[in-house]
């Protein structure tokens, strides 16, 4: 059995040689939060972290990922959706259909870890994920909210939440 360290746990799996990490995550390990979008590393829907580096898992053979490497998927970014990027995404209603958003969030989390105060150019360079619904401007706003310390009101969207709060 091959091994992967995913979301802090060592997981055993069986897959044919050459099977991309994406499909091992989705089909062997049941982690379907990571999405298939293009299969050729163009869209970013399959972005995960490998040792903290945002990586398009659809073109990485699972066998090439050492058991010592730390793989983090959207399910492991935080135990309960409490990562600052997830919180900002939630409070600003960033997702539309949501299918690309796991990849967007993983890319944004890696960017903010590397550059806590990214410029627009930094964001453009790091966030090359494709979104067909068109969430780009809210993605940018949410990244800036996180960089600014999490003040969701700074985005100026004025969204009313069910608990009565306003962001």
């Amino acid at each position: 059995m091959a091994k992967l360290n995913v979301n802090g746990k060592v997981r055993e799996y069986k897959a044919d040689p050459g099977t991309p990490l994406l499909w091992v995550l989705r089909e062997q390990l049941g982690l379907t939060g990571t999405k298939y979008g293009c299969g050729v590393a163009l869209c970013g829907a399959c972005t995960v972290h490998i040792n903290g580096v945002p990586t398009r898992s659809c073109v990485v053979p699972a066998a090439s990922v050492k058991a010592s490497a730390k793989v983090v998927t959207i399910e492991g970014l935080s135990p309960n959706g409490s990562h600052p990027v997830q919180k900002a995404w939630d409070k600003l209603d960033v997702p539309q259909c949501g299918f690309c958003q796991s990849g967007m969030i993983m890319a944004a989390a890696a960017l903010l870890k590397a550059k806590p105060n990214p410029t627009d150019a930094d964001i453009n360079e790091a966030m090359t994920n494709i979104c067909r619904c068109g969430t780009y401007n809210r993605v940018r706003a949410a990244i800036k909210v996180v960089a600014g310390g999490g003040d969701t009101k700074s985005a100026g969207l004025s969204i009313q939440h069910a608990d009565g709060s306003l962001t």
Binding site: L42, W89, K91, T128, I130, T135
Partner: protein
């Protein structure tokens, strides 16, 4: 009744009660939820078809339309909750199934989610659903207290008997309410009294989209499920000649090679990756059929000939345009064209099907559960009552998942070969690109006359090209006319009307259909019609030596709603005031999907031809604005979709097949190219318009007109990537 009611009992019970609202009859949603791998809800009788209130005061609002990112789930829930007077913090939603809708005499109405119709076409009956449920809940409380119902009020899921200040909650009286006869006289609130509709409410479906928990069709897992990958003959209209099954049957995990219909082959395996790689290794011989030599270049010649053909069908006519133009001081003419485009939803087409000789079930992301149900039943060879479709959240729709359910038919055909085993069919991105239902391809010749003062004397538009209805619903074509072709160009009225008052006008269509299957592509025909009209109007303003805004205002004098959004966009953008150096503005206004929209784009073009869209101000009048923050999200998204199309969107046919098969050749806009978008909502009230689509249509024309202002270049065919904007 308990949640363990059998489906047979449910269907029998519903059939007996067909034709009336079935109050108090529990539908086995819980069972369906469990089948979808979701937590089962406790059994609670519904108050009516739209509303279930659980003993803990949780309110379940049933949503018939499909959520695909556009926010309709939240908007429709707001409409029901507004009239229900319930506690918004305790609202959840669920989809009724198409099978239940059929069994209950379509109690939830139309499931179709396209044409920006989700809210505008169901707003009245969903609000009545909420109001009816509220009246029944209040009645139940009054009955329990033995007081006149007129002495009771409801707010926030609490019912109060005003004279005694006694209170109870919806959850406590829901069971009693469910047994009451629903009232027939229902009065809806005056819009000025709305507390929830019109507010910037957060979406109900966001959290799970940020944690990876949200299950899309592609993510479904059922016990014992197998996976399938498919290839259909890449040439449209071609068929499968032969396939060497034995070549892949010994590969690990491969269970079966299935011929699907006469034009496709699928490999079924334990995992999708194994199915896909086996399919890639499978020797397949296609018969390319009659379209083997089809090409976009050849079809463009057919379209060109259609521009002057005599077999055109009239869509809008005022006076004698040809005579008026002939008698004019100046004549202006131009030919525009618009290419095929793929919807390219981020989640490729997929469906999971389980077939037995008695029953067929399908789990799929669809914009139209009822159409998916009909397609499943047909492919299953079973009566609809023995079939069911469970809708899953869509990873994008944009029209691809509405009219044609080719992937559902395929999934059922595959499952039929493996009775009792659920099979999940997922299209590869390549399959999705090669077998879309494409934006129709058209050309347009525009001719206009100007008098000596620069007034338009006559205006002619000849559209030549593809009809969507001819491809997806030929029965809807009457006397050779596809009315959808004329979106945005119709006579004055509530849908897609032309705002400009031309003294003489002729808009007609010469239908020319290529071998490429067409489909409703977000924005539909309003997209190219707005480019044709709005760029040519800009050409006329230029020919008349007039300001493009002033020129439009004059022609819109009798179209106040068109004019209002145009003015709103122009004023907010600062039309007529100086821009930053090198930045130029362009305008567009149109009407479609029941709403009025306009945009002002600000662009610059560098000396070496690099376009930058800096800012777009967009105005929209959907009548009533149900959730302004989601309207803003839709308007922003519309520019991503519309600008992707304008800059890069093109699918071309060569040797009978599409040339673009992934995102390297079909390039969507990315974040670095996204302009700032400022949305102005001009909700003038009194009508209900759509939001998800109309703004797509103003993206390209506003930018193209700004490009002309910047460079003097008129781009008359898209996408822009095929043109050099380099300064001469």
């Amino acid at each position: 009744m308990s949640a363990t009611i059998s489906r047979r009992q449910f269907l029998a019970g519903s059939a007996a009660a067909a034709g009336s609202l079935v109050i108090g009859f529990h539908i086995p949603f819980a069972r369906d939820a469990a089948a979808q791998g979701m937590p089962a809800a406790p059994a609670t009788p519904e108050v009516n078809a739209w509303v279930v209130v659980r003993p803990d005061d949780t309110v379940v609002i049933r949503i018939a339309r499909s959520e695909m990112g556009q926010g309709t789930l939240t908007g429709l829930a707001q409409m029901v909750a507004e009239e229900l007077e319930c506690n918004w913090a305790k609202v959840t939603t669920e989809y009724p199934t198409p099978g239940q809708n059929l069994a209950r005499n379509r109690v939830w109405g139309n499931f179709s989610t396209g044409g920006s119709r989700g809210i505008r076409e169901s707003q009245e009956y969903v609000r009545k659903g909420g109001a009816t449920a509220r009246m029944m809940l209040v009645q139940a409380a009054a009955d329990e207290w033995k007081v006149p119902v007129a002495e009771c009020t409801a707010a926030n899921s609490v019912i109060t008997h005003t004279p005694t200040s006694r209170t109870t909650t919806y959850g406590k009286v829901a069971a009693a309410a469910s047994k009451l006869t629903p009232p027939t006289a229902v009065t809806l609130k005056d819009p000025k009294d709305w507390k929830l509709v019109g507010k910037r409410m957060a979406r109900l479906d966001t959290v799970d989209k940020t944690t990876g928990k949200q299950i899309y069709g592609m993510d479904l897992k059922l016990p014992g499920m197998l996976n399938a990958a498919i290839k259909r003959c890449p040439v449209f209209g071609g068929t499968l000649k032969s396939v060497d099954e034995a070549a892949v049957m010994k590969r690990p995990g491969v269970k079966k090679v299935v011929r699907v219909g006469n034009d496709a082959v699928a490999v079924v395996a334990d995992t999708w990756w194994r199915a896909k790689t086996a399919l890639d290794a499978l020797p397949i011989v296609w018969d390319n059929g009659p379209n083997a030599n089809a090409s976009s270049a050849a079809f463009a010649e057919v379209l060109k000939a259609g521009l002057d053909a005599t077999d055109a069908v009239v869509g809008n006519k005022v006076g004698d345009a040809a005579a008026a133009i002939a008698a004019s001081a100046k004549k202006v003419e131009a030919v525009y064209s618009y290419p095929h485009q793929n919807h390219a939803t981020m989640e490729t087409m997929n469906a999971t099907a389980r077939w037995t000789p008695e029953r067929c079930e399908v789990w799929t992301p669809t914009q139209n559960g009822e159409a998916a149900h009909a397609a499943a039943a047909e492919a299953a060879g079973l009566p609809p009552a023995q079939c069911e479709v469970y809708k899953l959240l869509l990873g994008g729709g944009f029209g691809r998942r509405g009219a044609v359910h080719d992937w559902v038919r395929q999934a059922v055909a595959i499952a039929k070969e493996m009775p009792g085993t659920p099979v999940k069919l997922i299209w590869s991105r390549e399959e999705d690109m090669l077998h879309g239902s494409y934006h129709p391809v058209t050309q347009c010749k525009l001719t206009a006359g100007l008098d000596a003062q620069g007034n338009v004397t006559g205006f002619q538009m000849r559209i030549s090209g593809q009809s969507i209805l001819a491809g997806v619903a030929p029965q809807a074509i009457k006397d050779g006319k596809d009315p959808v072709v004329f979106q945005g160009l119709n006579p004055p009225g509530p849908e897609a009307s032309l705002g400009y008052a031309f003294p003489a006008l002729l808009v007609d269509h010469a239908m020319r259909n290529p071998s490429t299957p067409p489909g409703f592509w977000r924005g539909v025909n309003l997209n190219q019609n707005s480019i044709y009209l709005e760029c040519f109007i800009d050409e006329l303003a230029h020919a008349a030596g007039q300001d493009p805004l002033a020129f439009r205002r004059k022609l819109l004098a009798n179209s106040p709603k068109h004019l209002a959004v145009l003015n709103a966009a122009a004023e907010k953008a600062g039309w007529g005031t100086p821009t930053a150096p090198g930045v130029f503005r362009g305008l567009c206004v149109t009407m479609g999907f029941g709403s009025y929209v306009a945009a002002c784009a600000e662009v610059s073009v560098s000396n070496d031809g690099v376009l930058k869209v800096h800012r777009i101000v967009a105005a929209t009048d959907p009548g009533y604005a149900v959730n302004p923050q989601q309207i803003e999200a839709q308007v922003e998204g519309s520019f991503v979709y519309g600008l992707s199309a304008a800059l890069y969107g093109e699918c071309t046919v060569k040797d009978g097949r599409m040339e673009q098969d992934n995102f390297h050749t079909y390039v969507p806009l990315r974040m670095n190219e996204m302009p700032a978008v400022e949305t102005v909502i001009v909700a003038s009230g009194g009508f209900w318009g759509g939001v998800g689509e109309p703004t797509i249509a103003v993206a390209a024309p506003a930018v193209l007109n700004a490009i002309f202002a910047a460079t003097g270049k008129r781009i008359r065919d898209l996408p822009l990537k095929n043109h050099s904007l380099k300064k001469a």
